[in-house]
Subunit: 554 residues, 2 copies
């Protein structure tokens, strides 16, 4: 390795001669090193809190190392994927270390997805193992039918799951704790090189099937360090898992919190009562979530509220936080930091870095600044707004173009999709698909979405996927789905539908049709019947529908 590595430099100068990298001075960057270090430096410090369970770093590391051995024993080979379908339980956190330690690639799956989508992912990433929460058992049964091939199964019997979630009959799969207990801890082993894949995260693509975003050890390591620095994580920090770990690996906080030697507090479900209780009980200092989570906190029933230690940092992203959300959270004693990114950039790669002088601005001005997406995170590199020819727009707050980024916290590319990878990286930038401007202070602000994504409650919904289902309804002639602004969810999918001549269908019937065919969070909240505005060439003019959706009354 070292020889090849230095040869690429082509450097033959005085300061290169006899100075090739070697195993002493060049180690692959990997978040595995964070856990290895934390288990040495803070063996007795609590790493993970889960209900009544407490895992000190020594034990947390041992569990991850046992998981690695167990996965290898279950047939996971180097470079192969293991999927996890679970809420924020310790098993999913442990998989962020156990899978890569086994040389594998972690595929965290959104528990809200339907069986068809899950089966697609397991098939597409050729997953060898599926670790699932017992509450998902019924769905997993259907997934297996669709998958039509064997896969090693591990079932999590989460002690914090409510009674109802445990009702699913056990699948006969090995239980997660038994799976760990039977395995010896694997020795710490870094990846062969830092470009090795560490995970594959599926996004609801704008067209057709979800895309598998492949991320690498180097990016995971640097993204996590960027969060440690940007979010000021310290050994004393306590991080509450309100953000799903299956979203971009919890924005790399699965690794960042460990890098800081801080404490993870698992939370099976982000509900206001549980959130307030956890913050109060564990002296939480940090949490992340989409604006909807913040909204839920703000509007929590009075009986759930608890007095807060001031200064809990809430990092929000997935959508721009409305002013009311920022002020509402501040009134409760939180500090709000807005971050922006995509699965392709390991979550936040842009952050609305707080500036001391903003404190003196009139509130409306301050909130407007804080709602912008911001500047590159410390370990990302370049950020720009470009025009149709790839030209960089000046920071004039006026010229709207595509927001593009570049740096070490960008995915390897899309799995088995070189065409989409090439398109994403065209012209030497990663294309976010979002449109925006760059302000004179070099903060970018998203103005519109190039892609037809509806972001509802922090979940991405591809409008085309919903439209596909609508088109399958026998009475539907044409359909278009756009985002409708919503106080609670941020956005909800709004369907505009034209019926075939002589056919009838009401909204309830259309929605029932959808519910039977897609994950429920994707089902439109609104259906509007009528003609669709089109361009001369027949393209549906979604921008006009978005305007209409904004002004709908009901």
């Amino acid at each position: 390795m070292p020889e090849d590595f230095v040869r690429k430099s082509g450097a033959e100068g005085l300061f290169e001669r006899d100075l090739a990298p070697n195993a002493v001075n060049h180690v692959p960057l990997s978040p595995l090193s964070f856990l290895k270090r934390a288990s040495l430096v803070w063996p007795e410090k609590i790493a993970v809190i889960d209900g009544r369970r407490r895992f000190p770093y020594r034990e947390f590391a041992l569990r991850c190392r046992r998981l690695a051995t167990a996965l290898s024993g279950a047939g996971l080979n180097h470079g192969e994927a293991a999927a996890v379908l679970a809420p924020n339980v310790p098993a999913l956190l442990e998989a962020h270390y156990g899978v890569p330690l086994a040389g594998g690639v972690l595929a965290p799956i959104n528990i809200l997805l339907d069986a068809a989508s899950i089966a697609f992912i397991l098939d597409h990433a050729a997953c060898k193992v599926l670790i699932f929460d017992r509450a998902q058992a019924e769905k997993v049964r259907e997934v297996l039918n669709r998958l039509g091939r064997p896969i090693a199964l591990v079932e999590i019997a989460d002690p914090t799951a409510p009674e109802a979630d445990s009702l699913g009959a056990p699948m006969g799969a090995i239980e997660y704790e038994d799976f760990l207990a039977a395995a010896e801890p694997m020795a710490w082993t870094l990846p062969r090189n830092e470009w090795q894949a560490i995970g594959v995260n599926y996004t609801s693509g704008t067209t057709g099937d979800p895309k598998g975003v492949v991320c690498h050890h180097r990016g995971a390591y640097l993204g996590a360090l960027g969060n440690v620095i940007g979010f000021h994580l310290r050994p004393e920090s306590v991080y509450l898992w309100t953000l799903p770990m299956f979203h971009c690996n919890g924005w790399t906080c699965t690794w960042a919190v460990t890098a800081a030697g801080a404490t993870h507090v698992c939370l099976r479900k982000a509900e206001p009562g549980a959130i307030f209780a956890a913050i109060a009980e564990h002296d939480v200092t940090h949490l992340c979530g989409a604006p909807i989570v913040l909204n839920m906190i703000i509007h929590a029933p009075a009986e759930f509220r608890r007095p807060l230690a001031s200064g809990v940092l809430v990092v929000t992203g997935g959508a721009s936080p409305p002013s009311a959300v920022i002020t509402g959270m501040e009134a409760l004693g939180f500090r709000v930091l807005h971050a922006y990114g995509l699965t392709e950039t390991y979550g936040p790669s842009v952050v609305c870095q707080w500036q001391a002088e903003w404190a003196d601005l009139p509130e409306a001005e301050r909130l407007a600044r804080q709602a912008r997406q911001g500047v590159s995170t410390p370990t990302m590199e370049d950020l720009a707004v470009i025009g149709p020819e790839g030209e960089e727009f000046p920071p004039d707050a006026a010229r709207m173009g595509e927001i593009v980024t570049r740096g070490n916290v960008v995915m390897k590319g899309y799995l088995k999709n070189p065409e989409a990878t090439r398109a994403a990286f065209a012209g030497g930038w990663f294309h976010t698909g979002d449109l925006g401007v760059m302000h004179p202070d070099h903060y970018v602000e998203v103005k519109d979405r190039a892609k037809d994504i509806v972001i509802s409650g922090g979940e991405n919904i591809a409008s085309i996927e919903v439209e596909d289902v609508l088109y399958r309804h026998p009475a539907v002639l044409a359909a278009a789905v756009v985002a409708r602004p919503d106080e609670i969810w941020g956005e909800t999918p709004c369907a505009f539908v034209t019926l075939k001549e002589g056919r009838a269908a009401n909204a309830e019937e259309i929605l029932g049709f959808c519910r039977a065919r897609m994950a429920h969070f994707k089902v439109p909240k609104t259906v509007v019947f009528g003609e669709l505005p089109r361009t001369a060439t027949g393209k549906i003019q979604k921008h006009l529908l978005r305007e209409r959706a904004k002004h709908l009354r009901t």
Copy 2:
């Protein structure tokens, strides 16, 4: 580059196919990115304070970019070295960016070195440019005579220099500010690859000529991020330059402070009055220095003292801080963090990570923990104590062996000295040359330099342990223990002691103090009073004391 880079992985699996690194997702790690980012994110924030001068980040970056262009114009080619011979003035800080931006290698030279040593360095590293502080002009004249070849000269007329330092007649070289002013700012350019050399730092070797430690962009980047995290540097931080930047690039704080977007406060000379004044005036939050600097602060004349904002973090290293130094600093309101490293590890690569529960220990126990060297820094990797066969010793606090490290914050090697490089990296570890033990909590403690062991009657005596006791004697200002040849015992410990002004103690009293506090075989057999010989950097020259000990009569 990307193709070569991935080829080395040999990975042909599903998650590697069509997923080679490219210019969008793989950027060389370089501390240049820190300044590029800081100048965009905090353009108007003060980056550098120097006497009455203030450079906001925008201007600081422009100055560095001008320096790069000016250096190229002066003949500095890619991969060639530029030397700086200056105290902690902005020009030396700027050279940490301007030289690598020009593609060059920075050679910071200790201003306390004599002309012969400086000429050796300029010759050995083939320096094309020498930037020097005007106070060094007389010495530079002699250096040039010895060098016997032309070199581009740039002279710093430091406005904070006292009258006396400006007396040296100008050399006729271009003045630094004129040098900058004549150049356009160079565009930001990252190194061709992150393994490229960024600097060469000469160590005062224990034998023969100084060795040129070559460090690389990757290590500088990661070492700096390790400091940001380990020292909790934030945008609000204010860093006082008490540690010479020419010591391992100021332990990478030259880059770390910028990475955090914090403020550098330059300090031409680390004197108690200037230190207290700067802390008070600029709300300093961080400083670094050898224990001798801390001692100077503790014993500052009353008229220099100023009340301190509590919690200024002082990182100390270069020697283990005696208990009295820690408590003395704490009494003044400082927090002390002990770090350990060598030029070969970019300064601190081991840090005595504070543990919350230490606060509850009896003071003596707490101080004993804090005086240990510690654990790997966040971006370093492995740390061990090994025996003569390379075997790793268990963390038993008992078995003394060589302290060795491994990770990304280790030098490329020694310039033009493959033999020394091989020896330093033998057996897959970087050999520190220090002897120590690993405690059960995985903190290492240096017990002695490999050479500083006294072997008496077959028993190993760590001179540092004896010295520790001597330092605790109220009359002792400084102490050094070396081996004295002995017909009966082979060697015996011989103590050289400097007493505090106005204090008296005789040998018998000192030895009685020792006997009460250590195993009797470790008690010195000889005590010699007087000044201790020191290097230009203040290190006690034990080899001279060994010579003296050999020829003692009594």
